[in-house]
Amino acid sequence: MTPYLELRNVSVSFNGFKALNEFNMSVSKGELRCLIGPNGAGKTTALDIICGKVKPSAGSVVFDGTALEGLEEHRIARAGVGRKFQVPSVFRDLTVAENLEVARAHRPGVWANLRWDARRSGRKDIERLAQLISLTEHLDRPAAYLSHGQTQWLEIGMLVAQDAELILMDEPTAGMTAQETRKTAELFARLKGKHTLLVVEHDMGFVKAIGDVISVMHLGQLLAEGTAAEVEEHPEVRRAYLGSGGITNA
């Protein structure tokens, strides 16, 4: 089966520092793939390459038959890729509802969005989304007033609103409480299948709970790949990242 998302021999350097070194990874449709590894392994850079924030110096990125490398960010997004950033990036001056509205970008062209009815139609969906992310009371408040955890949730909600086929998540549970993390795991479980998720994470409990397949990165390359159990036993992984205590001790 041809992979849904395939990174082949992707390399990129920043002023001499090789962030990705012939990195290979394949993800199947509907999967929930977790990407783990020590700091500096290139996990965020891998996501940056896919969504177009960084252009690779070599290698290819193919998503659902479309070559993504070299395309502009918005074209990649229109091809069905959504990205949640490590530092929550929402529109602080806009209200929560407006943030979600912007994220609903199924018709991204300027002229289409000048139509008077382009806004009214989505209010019901937005209210439902707001319930999903527990931000109903804050719908008409500026996003700047949200707490860190709430902002994370808003951005996740925006990703859901964007309804991208491939959703890239960069440390989605950073700064969340245990309960919020659990809720995030439930949401991801619901999203996978219809969407394909690629999640960069450090929280191993979370990874173990949600991940089908785990890819481990180290020094810009793929170190190991497999289920949580397989990865835990892998000698290289233990040496580089997890230690002898296994995934839960990382």
Binding site: C51, G52, K53, E72, E73, H74, A77, R78, G82, R83, F85, S89, V90, F91, R92, D93, L94, E98, N99, E101, V102, A103, A105, P108, G109, V110, N113, L114, R115, W116, A118, R119, R120, R123, S134, T136, E137, H138, L139, D140, R141, M158, Q162, Q179
Partner: protein
Amino acid sequence: MPSKMSSQTGLSRLGAQLAPILIVCAIVFALPLVLNNDFLLNKVARYLVLGILTVSLALSWGFGGILNLGQAMSFGIGSYAMAMALKLKTVPVHTGPGGLPDFMVWNNVARLPWFWEPFKSLGFALAAGIILPALVAAALGWFIFRSRVTGVYVSIMTLATMVVLNLVIIDQQSYTGGFNGITDLAQLEVFGIVFDTYSRATFYLVASCVTLSLLVAFAFTRTKAGLVVQAIRDHESRVRYFGYDVAAYQIFVFALSAAIAGLAGMLYTIVMEFASPTFLGVQLSLSVVVWCAVGGRQSLVGAFLGAVLVAGMQGALSESAAFLETWTLIMGALFVLVVLFLPKGLAGLAHDIWLWIAQRPHAVQDTALGVGQTREGST
């Protein structure tokens, strides 16, 4: 349980934003009933036009995040379009043989230059006054935004471009009237109405355009495109990852802003009875920025009133040099204070005070709700 105070319904928020605009427009239309002095009304009309210009900057800057230091360029293009049309309509007293404007005759120009020809048609001129600035802005915008120039450099480029056009107009005096501008114009006559600069017709024309510009700008901010533009102002790069072509939106708001400024320019020529390179000048362009900042750049009405009141003050004080200089000094200080402490201008300050007053009775109720929410959240 949804909090009563935090979410107003969509319609009531629309009303809350539309109301100030309608009130201001009503007041403007009612002015001739109160001020029965043609000379004074003419002066007020001048400030109203500058208000429209400032609204156009608020659209680009406050809503789009694009600080156009050369906003006067679009204003100037509109004013020259009108001036050229009106110059060509003057009776042969001001026009040389063959229909040449007087200054061309004095400069020994043999034939009317090609770019003057279309302005013989008033219809063309009226359209050009709005469309030409928009086209120029779109071209400049394409040049600037497609290459992802941002922030300060955008402002520098817009200012430099305006200065270039200003210099070209001054230099090519045989074709443009140069330093002195285009003077001795005929009066605008449309559908039998003569728009003499001191007539009520002109004032109502200006008032109508005030209403039109405010409503068009407001309507834009209420569309989804307007929302995307504000998101771009907030976090330009993030918007791309949702699929929006950021440059296209920036070019659009830039051009729309220019079109409104062009309309203001045309009105200014009618009210002032001439067009001059100072209309594309650094002094005016930076003054617009000051009015916009002080009035409140994220508020269309705020920006409008900021311009009318400050420019009006300046005009009222222009009789006495000492007063004028002191006023300018105070304005400078006020501007610095606004930049330092009040990014949303006086309109923003008024809004915050309003919110603070409106929310005080709910303070107790809110605390109770706060507790309730925490309990709910922990199940």
